[in-house]
Amino acid sequence: MRKLLLSSIIVIVAITYIGRLSYLQVLNPPTGNLSDDTAIKAIYDYPERGYIYDRNGKLLVANQPSYDVMVIPRDVKPLDTVEFCKLLNITKEDFIKKYNQTKRYSPRLPSVFVPQLSKEEYAVLQEKMRKYEGFYIQKRSLRYYSEATAANILGYISEVNERDLKKHTYYQSGELIGRQGIEEQYEETLRGRKGVKYIQKDRFNRVIGPYKNGIADTLPIQGKDIHLTIDMDLQMYGEKLMGNKRGGIVALDPKSGELLSLVSAPTYDPALLVGRKRSKNYTKLYYDSIAKPTFDRGLLAMYPPGSPFKTLNALIALEEGVIDENSSIRCSHGYRYGRSAFMGCHCGGGIRKLNNGIYNSCNAYFANAYRKVIEKYTTAEEGMNVYEKHLKSFGLGNYLGYDLPNGKKGLIPSSKYYDRAYGKKRWFATNTISNAIGQGEVLTTPIQLANMTAAIANRGFYYTPHVIKKIDNQYIQDENYIKPKQTTIKREHFEPVIQGMYDVYNKGTANWIQIPGISIAGKTGTAENFTKIDGQKVQLTDHSIFVAFAPVEDPKIAIAVFVENGYWGSRWAGRIAGLMIEKYIKGEITRKDMENFVLNDDRFIEEYEKPLSGKSFTINDGQKSYIKHTTSDNSLTINE
C-alpha cells in the first residue's frame, strides 16, 4: 500500500490535468474567428454599395460619403474632453454616456461614437484626430437618392442592431444593413463583401506587424449594381396622381411579370431616412398610425376585391361548363336566393348575358353563375374545393413569391373555412353567395389583383411579379421569374370575358374615361369598408377599385388601382388606371381633363378627417350618414 500512494497520486493528477486541458481546449474550443482573438486586430475595408437603376437605366440610388467617429474604449488615453466635445458638437454628458455605453458593449471592439459626420465636420476633425488615442474616423458610404420617389420599393439602410449581430456573423457593430424593400431583399448583392486586414498586436496593444504576413487577409468584393423593372417616370407619375389620396397602384408587364410601378400612398422622401436624422424621421413616419406612410399598401393592404372578382367567376363558370357565352338570366334589380335573402343590383335590370353582365357589373348574373358552379357538385364542400383550386391558380390566397420582403397572403376561403364557420355539411352555395361579387370573406392585395389581371391579359398564365431586372448588367435567370405559371382555365374561355372587360370601356361603367387610341379592357369595383368609432362599427365611404390591361390584343401593361374611400370605381381608380396606361404606352397625357380631375383631390383630406372628427358625417356622396351617438345605417350596400 505504501508503495502505491505516490504512483496513484501521479495517475490521478495526470488524469485531472488532461481532463482540465480537454475542458479548455476541446469542450470549449476557440471559435476560429480571428476577430475574437485579443492579439489580433482586424481592419476592415468596406466596398461601395451597389447602385440601383430603373428599367431604362435611370439612376435611382447612388452613394455619398459619410464619416463615423469610432472608439475602442480599451485604447482610450486621458484626453481634453472639453475640446473634443466641441469638435464633435456634443455635450460632456453625451460624451460620458456614450463612452460608458460603448465600453459596456465591448472594451476592445470598435463601436460608433458619433455617427455620420458631414463633410465639413470631417474636415475640421480629421487633422486633430491623432491627438485622441483610441478614437479614429471610419469612412462609410450613405445612400444618395436622385429623386424623391419609390421609398416603399427601395427600402433604406441603417446600422445593424443587436439582433442582426446575433443573427448574422458577418456584421460588426456600427456597420450598415439594408432594411425593407430592395435594400433588404438584395442586401448581399448590393453590399458586396468587406475586405479585412489582420494585424498582430502585443499585450500593450502595439502593432507588431501583419498577422502571418497577411495570409488570412481578404480584398473587398465590390457590391453589384442592380437594375429594377420599375419605370421611374411611371412610378413618379403614379405617386403624383395619388397625391392626397391613400391607396396603391400596381402596374406590371404581363408578358414578363416585371413590375412597372408599385405606388403606395401616402409615401415619403427616401432621403429622410439617410444619415444622422434617419432615426428621428423614421420614428415619426412609423408612428403615424393614421396615414401609415411606411405601410406599403400595394403589397400589404388586404381589401375585398369587389367587382373585378366577377371576371374570375365568369372564367370559372365557363371552365366548369355551367354557363356559356349565351346563357342569360333576367335581373330584377337583384337576385333572390332564399325566402328572405336578396342581393341588390345596380345594373339597371333586364336580360343579362355574359357580355353585358360584365360591362354592367350585374350582381344577379354572377350570383347565378357562382351558385351553378358550386351546385354542379353533389356537396357544397366538393364544389368549394374546385372553386378554390381555380382561384388559387391565379396566385390568390397565398404569397405570390415576388422579390420584396413584405407580403400578405390575402384570403380565399376554403371548404374547411366554412366548416369552421357553419359546421360540417351545414352550409351551401347560398351561404357563400357574396363570393360571386368579390365581397364577404375574400381578401386580396393590390399586387395579387394586378397579377390576376395579367393572367387574364395573357389568356391563362402569368409570370411571378418581380422588381429585379439585371444584376451587374446580367439579366436575371431565376426560374421563378422567367417560367410562366399556368392557370386552370383553358385559353378559349378568356376571349368572351376579355370582350366583356373591353366593353366596360365601350358601353359600360367606364365608357366616359376612354383613352383615345388605346384599347383597354378593365373592370370597375367598389369595396365596402368599416372602422370603429367609440367601439361601434361604422361604415366609411367605399374604396374605389379598378383593374385594367392594355392594349387588348397585345397587352403591355396590367394594372390594379385602389383608392381608399374614393367611392365609385371609375371615378378615381378608373381615371388613374387610364392615365397610367396612357403614360406608359404613349409617354404623354392627352386626357388632361382626367388628369386635372385626379390631381384636384383636396376633398380626400376632408374624407379622411371624417372618422377622426368626432362629428356626424355622410358617406358615399351623401347617400348614408353616420350620426354621432346613434346607430348608423347598417343595411347592406351593394356594388355599382
Binding site: R2, K3, L5, L6, S7, I9, I10, V11, V13, A14, T16, Y17, I18, R20, L21, S22, L24, Q25, V26, N28, P29, P30, G32, D37, T38, A39, I40, Q200, K201, D202, R203, I208, G209, Y211, K212
Partner: protein, 427 residues
C-alpha cells in the same frame, strides 16, 4: 564510465529526459524569438542561452555518470552541509533580482543555489533514513528527518521564495514510503480540507459540520464498542475548530489583499463580475492570459511559431514558469496532453526504478527524485491551467534557466548512476 554502466543505464528515462529538454527548448525559442534575429545561437536571447545551458548539462551528465556511485552516498552529508552554507551565504552576498535575493552573481551570470539544494537534501535524507540506526517510527528520529527536510526550506522562505520552499514538503512522500505513520498524512489531508472549506464556506459552518460528522462517527463507534470514550473526539473537534479559526483569522487579518485575491480567484470565491474583471487584470492576469492562450489552441493548436498570444507576449514569464501555456496554444490539446503523459511516464518509471533498487539508499533517493519532480510538475502545470493558485516554481527540464536545468539534471542523473550501479552493490 565503463561499458557495464552504459549497458545497465536506463535508456527509457534518458530518452524521456532528452525529449522533455528538446520540447522545452523549441517552446522557449517560440516565446522569445523575434523576426529580426531568429538565429538559434544568439546568446543575447534566452533561447540561445538555454541552448548553451543544455550543452553544458551534457558535460554535467558525463561527469555525474563517471563518478563512482559510492561517492554520492559517502559524501551526501558534506554535499548537504555545503548547500546549506550556500543558502546561508545568500544573506550576505546574494543578488536581488525581481525582489528575491536568490542568486549569486558571477560577472554577468547568475546562479541559484536553491535549485541545487533539492538534490542535496534528497541525498541527505536518503543517507539518514538508510542508516541502520534510524527508526522512522521513533519520535526522535522523525524529528531529525523533519529537520533535514525543513532546514533548507527555512533558509529559502525569507529570500523570499515560498514556492521553492514548498517543494521540500514533497519529501514527506518519501518518509511515508519508508514507514512514517499514516496519521501525519491524514492530518495533512484534513488540514488542507479544513483550510479550503473554511475559505469557501465559513468558520462557523466548518465547526458545525465537523461537530456533526464527529458526533455520528462517535455514535457508530459506541455501538460497536461500549467502552469508547468521547475524549478523543472532543480533542479532534477542538483541534479542528482551533485550526479553522486560525485559518479564518490569518486570512482576514494577516494576509494582504493580493494574497486573498489569489485564493478567491483559485476557489472561484469572487462572484461580482466587476471585481472579477479587476482581479483578472491584476493578480489573476497571468492565470487568465495563460488559460485563454491554452484555450485558444484548440485540439491541434495554432502551429509552431504561430501562437498569436505567445507572439504578442500576452502571458508574462512565458519562457520560465508559464512555458506550458505556449505548448497549449501552439500544439493544442494533442501537444499539451502529450507533455502531461511524458511527465507521468517519467515519474512512474522513476518510482518503478526506485522500487527495484537493492540498496536502501538508492531506493530512498530515487523516491525523493520522483517526489521532487512530481511536485514541480503538479504545481507548475496546475497553476498554468488554472487549477492551482499562482505559485512560482519552474517546470522541470522545460522552463528557461541554467540553474534550474542543471539542478534537475544533477538530481535525475545521480539516480540514473545509482540505478546503473545496482548490481555492483553486491560485489
Amino acid at each position: 564510465m565503463n561499458n557495464k554502466v552504459i549497458q545497465k543505464i536506463d535508456w527509457a528515462t534518458i530518452l524521456v529526459y532528452f525529449a522533455l529538454v528538446f520540447i522545452g527548448w523549441i517552446n522557449i525559442y517560440s516565446t522569445t524569438f523575434t523576426d529580426q534575429n531568429p538565429s538559434v545561437f544568439n546568446l543575447a536571447q534566452p533561447y540561445g542561452k538555454q541552448l548553451l545551458f543544455i550543452g553544458l548539462s551534457l558535460f554535467l551528465i558525463i561527469l555525474i555518470l563517471s563518478i563512482e556511485a559510492k561517492f554520492y552516498e559517502r559524501f551526501s552529508s558534506i554535499i548537504y552541509l555545503a548547500s546549506l552554507v550556500s543558502l546561508l551565504g545568500l544573506f550576505l552576498f546574494g543578488k536581488n533580482i525581481n525582489g528575491a535575493t536568490s542568486w549569486y552573481a558571477f560577472g554577468g551570470n547568475t546562479i541559484q543555489p536553491s535549485e541545487f539544494a533539492k538534490a542535496a537534501t534528497a541525498l541527505a535524507l536518503a543517507k539518514y533514513l538508510s542508516d541502520i540506526q534510524t527508526n522512522i517510527n521513533k519520535l526522535k528520529d522523525q524529528l531529525k528527518a523533519f529537520l533535514i527536510i525543513i532546514a533548507p526550506a527555512l533558509l529559502i522562505i525569507p529570500q523570499p521564495d515560498p514556492g521553492s520552499a514548498l517543494v521540500y514538503a514533497s519529501l514527506f512522500f518519501v518518509l511515508y514510503r519508508e514507514g512514517l505513520s499514516p496519521i501525519y498524512l491524514f492530518i495533512g489531508l484534513i488540514a488542507i480540507l479544513l483550510f479550503v472549506a473554511t475559505l469557501i464556506f465559513s468558520f462557523k459552518t466548518v465547526i458545525i459540520s465537523s461537530f456533526i460528522i464527529l458526533l455520528f462517527s462517535f455514535i457508530l463507534k459506541k455501538r460497536r464498542n461500549k467502552r469508547t470514550s468521547p475524549l478523543m473526539f472532543l480533542v479532534i473537534l477542538v483541534a479542528s475548530a482551533a485550526f479553522s479559526y486560525s485559518v479564518s483569522f490569518i486570512y482576514e487579518n494577516v494576509f494582504e489583499q493580493r494574497h486573498r485575491d489569489r485564493f478567491s480567484l483559485w476557489l472561484r470565491l469572487e462572484k461580482d463580475p466587476e471585481k472579477l474583471e479587476e482581479i483578472r487584470k491584476t493578480i489573476g492576469y497571468n492565470t487568465y492570459q495563460s488559460e485563454s492562450a491554452i484555450g485558444s489552441g484548440g485540439f491541434f493548436g495554432k502551429g509552431y511559431l504561430e501562437g498569436t498570444r505567445t507572439k504578442g507576449d500576452f502571458v508574462p514569464e512565458q519562457h520560465t514558469d508559464y512555458i506550458f501555456s505556449t505548448v497549449g496554444e501552439e500544439w493544442g490539446f494533442a501537444g499539451s496532453a502529450l507533455v502531461v503523459l511524458l511527465f507521468s511516464f517519467l515519474l512512474l518509471r522513476l518510482l518503478f526504478l526506485a522500487e527495484r533498487q537493492k540498496s536502501e539508499f538508492s531506493r530512498i533517493y530515487g523516491y525523493g527524485v520522483a517526489s521532487i519532480l512530481f511536485i514541480h510538475f503538479a504545481i507548475n502545470v496546475g497553476m498554468v491551467i488554472g487549477l492551482l493558485p499562482t505559485i512560482g516554481i519552474p517546470l522541470p527540464f522545460f522552463s528557461y534557466g541554467g540553474s534550474g536545468l542543471w539542478g534537475f539534471t544533477i538530481l535525475l542523473f545521480i539516480f540514473i548512476k545509482l540505478d546503473a550501479n545496482r548490481i555492483n552493490e553486491w560485489m
